[in-house]
C-alpha cells in the first residue's frame, strides 16, 4: 500500500540528505574508510535501516484489536500463528519496496554497490528481512498492551538502536563508551554487513554477523509474537 510506505520513507531520506549536505566536505572521498566513494555510500545503510524498521505492523494489529476485527480473526477456524505470519509477510513486501526505493535514491546521489547487482539484491533482501524481524517488537507490544499509544511509542526504541552504532563514522573512530555500546548493539552488525557490500564488495567475514543477527532477531521476536497470540486471553 503506497499510503503506508511513503510516509515511512520521509525520515530516512531527510536524514540522508541532511547528513550528506552537512558532512560530505568533512569526509571527502579520499577519506580511507570511504574506500573511494562519497559519504552518501557510507550513510546509505543507516537510511535503509531507518526505512524498514517501523511499528506499522504492530499498529495495524493494535488497531484491529481496538475496532474488534481482531476478535473476528481469533474466532475464525484458522491457526492463530497465521494471523501474525500473514501480517509479517505483508510487512516483508512493504520493506522490500521501501529498501529498494531508498537504494535508488542513494544511487541517484552517486553511491555505488561494490558487490554489484547480486550485492544490491542481497542488501535489499537483508534490509527487508531485518525490518520484518524487527516488526515483531511492535507486534509484541500491541498484543501485550492492546494500547494504540503504547504501540506507537514503541517506535522510539529504534532511535538508540540505530544511533548507538557506528552510524556516522566507523567503529574504531568512536569514543570508548560509544564503541562498547555499539559492540553490544546487534544493529551494528547489520549496518556493517550492508555497508561492507556497498563499500568493499563480498567480504564474508563482514557479512555473516549481520545475517546471523537478522536470523536471531527474527526467530526470537516472531517466536515471542506467536506465543503471545496463542496465549492471548488464556
Amino acid at each position: 500500500m503506497p499510503e503506508a510506505t511513503i510516509p515511512t520513507l520521509f525520515i530516512p531520506l531527510f536524514f540522508l540528505a541532511v547528513n550528506i549536505g552537512q558532512v560530505s566536505r568533512t569526509f571527502p572521498s579520499s577519506t580511507p574508510f570511504l574506500h573511494g566513494q562519497g559519504y552518501v555510500a557510507f550513510q546509505l545503510p543507516v537510511s535503509l535501516m531507518f526505512a524498514v524498521a517501523t511499528a506499522t505492523t504492530g499498529l495495524a494489529i493494535v488497531t484491529e484489536i481496538d475496532v474488534g476485527y481482531f476478535d473476528k480473526l481469533l474466532v475464525a477456524p484458522i491457526a492463530r500463528s497465521s494471523i501474525i505470519l500473514g501480517r509479517l509477510a505483508a510487512d516483508f513486501v512493504r520493506c522490500l519496496a521501501a529498501a529498494f526505493l531508498v537504494l535508488m535514491v542513494g544511487l541517484a546521489f552517486g553511491a555505488r554497490v561494490h558487490a554489484g547487482i547480486p550485492g544490491a539484491v542481497l542488501l535489499v533482501v537483508m534490509s527487508a528481512s531485518f525490518g520484518t524481524a524487527y516488526a515483531g517488537l511492535a507486534v509484541l507490544v500491541a498484543l501485550k498492551t492492546r494500547n494504540v499509544q503504547t504501540t506507537q511509542a514503541s517506535f522510539i526504541v529504534f532511535f538508540p538502536l540505530l544511533f548507538l552504532t557506528p552510524n556516522f563514522v566507523p567503529l574504531d573512530r568512536l569514543t570508548s563508551l560509544m564503541r562498547t555500546l555499539a559492540h553490544i548493539n546487534p544493529v551494528t552488525y547489520v549496518l556493517q554487513s550492508i555497508r561492507s557490500l556497498i563499500l568493499r564488495g563480498w567480504v564474508l567475514s563482514d557479512l555473516w554477523p549481520g545475517i546471523l543477527v537478522i536470523i536471531l532477531t527474527g526467530v526470537v521476536l516472531t517466536g515471542l509474537c506467536v506465543r503471545a497470540i496463542e496465549t492471548y486471553d488464556r
Binding site: D71, V75, A76, P77, R234
Partner: protein, 307 residues
C-alpha cells in the same frame, strides 16, 4: 421461530469466569438451548452477558464449569467449535478501508471457501442483508445499521449451525433495529440456532423463543417471554374510592378472575391482576362502582411491576 428438532445446540453447566483481580463476571451459569431456538440473554450492562458469549465462542477460557456448542466441547475442541459457529460481537469488527464485498470475500477465505464459491457466497450474503448497492463502497462510509448488517453477513459465510449475536441492535435507530430483527428471524427460519444478548426487554420479547435474565453474573429467571411476563409482571389496577367502603369492595371483588391479591390503603385499592385491561369491566360490575366525574379518580392506573 421453530423448534423442529429437540437436539441441544448449547449446553453449559456451572459456567464461571473470574478475571484477574478477582472480579467474578460470570458465577455458575447453567444453560440448555435447543437447536432451532432463538434464545435471548437479557440483562443490564456489566451483568456478564458478553463474558458468557465470549466463553461460549472460545474467545475466553472458562474459569470453571463446562460447555458444549453444537455438540462440541468449547475447551477441548475449540477449533471444531469455531468451524460451526458464527459470531457478531458488540464491537463491530470491520476493517474501515475494505469494501463490504472485499470484507466478505476475505471472511469466506478464512472459513475455507475457495475461488468461485467465494464470489458467489459474498454476493448472496450482500443480497441477504440488502447491501448489494453499497457492496463496493468502503465500510467507513456505511451507517451504523449497514455496518451491523455487514457484520451479521460476515458471521454467516460458512452457514453456521449456531449464531451468536452480542447486543445486535445497541446504538441503532428504531428502523435499523426492525431490519436487524427481520434478518434474525430469516436466519433462524433457515434452521440456525440464535443466541443473542440484549438490554432491551422488547427485543427479547419480539425475537426470542426463550429468555434468561442475567444479573451480576447469575441467571435470575428463565423461560418463555410469556411465562416470564406472567411470572414476573402483573397489571395493577388502582381504585380510588370516594367515601370509603373499601372493605365492602374488597370482599365483592374476591372472586374476580385472574386476581392475585388486593392491597388496600385508606380509600385506595390496588388490584394485582393478570390482565388489567380485560378486568376493568368485571371490576366495575362486580364492585357496583359508579365512576366519578373526575377522570383522575375513576380511571384505573395501569402499571406493570416486577414482583
Amino acid at each position: 421461530m421453530s423448534t423442529s428438532t429437540t437436539s441441544v445446540a448449547i449446553e453449559a453447566r456451572g459456567l464461571t469466569r473470574t478475571f484477574k483481580g478477582g472480579v467474578e463476571a460470570v458465577r455458575g451459569i447453567d444453560l440448555t438451548i435447543n437447536s432451532g431456538e432463538v434464545f435471548g440473554f437479557l440483562g443490564p450492562n456489566g451483568a456478564g452477558k458478553t463474558t458468557t458469549v465470549r466463553m461460549l465462542c472460545t474467545l475466553l477460557p472458562l474459569s470453571g464449569g463446562a460447555a458444549t456448542v453444537a455438540g462440541v466441547d468449547v475447551v477441548g475442541k475449540a477449533a471444531e467449535v469455531r468451524r460451526r459457529i458464527g459470531v457478531a460481537l458488540q464491537e463491530i469488527g470491520l476493517d474501515p478501508i475494505q469494501t463490504g464485498r472485499e470484507l466478505l470475500e476475505l471472511q469466506c477465505g478464512l472459513y475455507g471457501l475457495r475461488g468461485g464459491e467465494v464470489v458467489e457466497r459474498a454476493k448472496a450474503l450482500l443480497e441477504l442483508v440488502g447491501l448489494t448497492d453499497a457492496a463496493d463502497r468502503r465500510t467507513k462510509t456505511y451507517s451504523g445499521g449497514m455496518k451491523r448488517r455487514l457484520d451479521l453477513a460476515s458471521a454467516l459465510v460458512h452457514s453456521p449451525t449456531v449464531l451468536f449475536l452480542d447486543e445486535p441492535t445497541t446504538g441503532l435507530d428504531p428502523a435499523s433495529r426492525l431490519t436487524i430483527w427481520d434478518e434474525v428471524r430469516r436466519i433462524n427460519g433457515d434452521g440456525t440456532t440464535v443466541f443473542l444478548t440484549t438490554q432491551y426487554l422488547e427485543e427479547a420479547d419480539q425475537l426470542c423463543d426463550r429468555i434468561a435474565i442475567i444479573d451480576d453474573g447469575k441467571i435470575v429467571a428463565s423461560g418463555t417471554p410469556e411465562a416470564l411476563k406472567s411470572e414476573l409482571g402483573h397489571d395493577v389496577v388502582s381504585l380510588t374510592l370516594d367515601g370509603g367502603g373499601a372493605d365492602a369492595v374488597q370482599s365483592a371483588l374476591a372472586q374476580l378472575p385472574g386476581l392475585e391479591r388486593i392491597a388496600s390503603e385508606r380509600d385506595k385499592l390496588a388490584l394485582y391482576v393478570e390482565d388489567g385491561a380485560g378486568s376493568i369491566a368485571e371490576i366495575v360490575r362486580g364492585s357496583d362502582l359508579r365512576l366519578a366525574s373526575d377522570p383522575r379518580r375513576c380511571l384505573p392506573a395501569r402499571d406493570r411491576t416486577a414482583a
